[in-house]
């Protein structure tokens, strides 16, 4: 038993069932000795039940079609026209398919290089992107410090890709441990909450390598290396949606 006196707030919290078990027992004991107060608390409880019952049918109603959330999200996405998709699909089939097949070999054989980087990026995505509480260690508001921190640790100037033109906003980033040393991870999300991860670190092998697609599980991405730095962009969006973003990251990184 604590010796804290029972407060009005305790009585309301008792009615709402949000007290810690110990405190709840204390309030219950108090009410046993104070029948007037107990009647009032019981009346509040009845009142609460009555309100909930009276309003419950509203939440049980079928949702009117104008409250269709997926429709609103789709409208917001402003998808490109079907014609655009058809052209893009044909291009992907002819170029991406062939290119992907050719790159596949290089990704699989170079274990210390691009393939390893791609794997690290995919792992980082699967660990941090679903995190609702702390997906990043430093938030976008501290991006200057973030860049300084990871540049110091990677011993390389790291440039923070700006993906706002692609519809993705920086959430922040963190340092990642890989078997090839520290890597910088940056996370982005779009208006729908879809997240992207960009991982970058100095390369030991594959110091320079053309962009190659990779996929595994429900994520896909693109990895490449330029001037000793490796990059991988990973997300759950379709490869054809990620490709232009990867190109943008590469373009920006080259302008350091």
């Amino acid at each position: 038993m604590t010796n804290r006196p029972i407060t009005e707030d305790d009585l309301h919290a008792y009615v709402d069932g949000v007290l810690e078990p110990e405190r709840e027992a204390e309030v219950a004991a108090y009410l046993e000795g104070h029948p007037d107060m107990a009647r009032r608390v019981a009346a509040f409880s009845d009142q609460r039940d009555l309100l909930r019952q009276a309003l419950a049918p509203i939440a049980d109603e079928p949702l009117p079609s104008r409250l269709n959330l997926s429709g609103m999200i789709e409208k917001r996405q402003r998808r490109p026209s079907p014609v655009w998709w058809a052209v893009a699909a044909m291009l992907m089939l002819s170029i991406g398919g062939l290119g992907g097949w050719v790159m596949r070999g290089s990704l699989q054989t170079s274990s210390g290089g691009l393939a390893a980087l791609a794997q690290e990026a995919a792992y980082s995505y699967s660990v941090y992107a679903p995190d609702r509480v702390r997906p990043v260690e430093m938030r976008a508001s501290d991006s200057a410090q973030l860049v300084q921190w990871v540049s110091n640790r990677l011993k390389q100037p790291v440039k923070l890709p700006d993906l706002t033109a692609s519809g993705y906003r920086l959430m922040g980033g963190r340092l990642i441990a890989t078997s090839h040393g520290p890597a910088a991870m940056f996370m982005y999300d779009d208006d729908r909450g879809d997240r992207l991860v960009v991982l970058t670190r100095p390369m030991i092998s594959d110091q320079s390598a053309p962009m190659a697609p990779h996929s595994g599980g429900d994520v896909s991405g693109f990895a490449w290396a330029d001037g000793g730095m490796g990059y991988s962009l990973v997300g759950q969006a379709a490869a054809e949606a990620l490709k232009p973003i990867a190109n943008e990251v590469r373009r920006q990184a080259r302008t350091i």
């Binding site: 949000v18 009555l50 309100l51 909930r52 309003l55 009117p64 104008r66 959330l69 779009d190 729908r192």
Partner: protein
């Protein structure tokens, strides 16, 4: 993908309930919820991490407050939805409906700020801290409004305890 769909869609019935309890008109309430959802879609990246419920209720509450102000300025009358008059179920069901209608009428007579606290806490199960965030008031104010709302509603209920059905009939005959 679709975090947003997964996290927000289950909250829509509760948002409708809160809006309806505040404005007491189905069409107006669903207008508010629609507006709220469209804003949520647009500003999804601005939410805090974690449970989006307090964030959604904040958007909805602010829209409702604006709606109150607008209709107060225009002196506009929002029709209160009738209970389903065409529903002649069994007497017991009918009587239960009258009791519910009665308590909602009494709830509607509470000051707006007290009603909001009572609904968020007692019906929508928001924590006191989350309710304080939604209403942008200190938690102490949440507690005092909750207390006043419960006392006042209880007085209303007890005041008409012996004649609840009569009171309802009287209210209906006015319309």
């Amino acid at each position: 993908m679709n975090d947003m769909l997964r996290l927000v869609e289950p909250v829509i019935p509760a948002l409708r309930r809160y809006a309806r309890a505040l404005v007491r008109n189905r069409a107006t309430a669903d207008d508010l919820v629609q507006d709220c959802l469209e804003r949520a879609v647009r500003h999804w990246h601005e939410r805090r991490e974690g449970d989006p419920r307090p964030w959604l209720f904040t958007i909805l509450h602010n829209l409702a407050v604006n709606q109150f102000r607008r209709s107060a300025r225009r002196g506009q009358h929002i029709a209160i939805d009738e209970a389903n008059e065409d529903d002649f179920g069994q007497d017991a069901v009918q009587e239960q409906k009258l009791i519910y209608q009665d308590v909602l009428d009494k709830l509607a007579r509470l000051p707006d700020d007290q009603r909001a606290v009572l609904l968020l806490v007692a019906v929508e199960d928001l924590s006191y801290a989350d309710a304080a965030r939604v209403l942008d008031i200190p938690i102490g104010t949440v507690m005092s409004r909750l207390s006043r709302a419960r006392e006042k509603l209880q007085q209303e209920i007890e005041g008409s305890a012996d004649g609840a059905p009569k009171n309802v009939v009287q209210l209906r005959s006015i319309k």
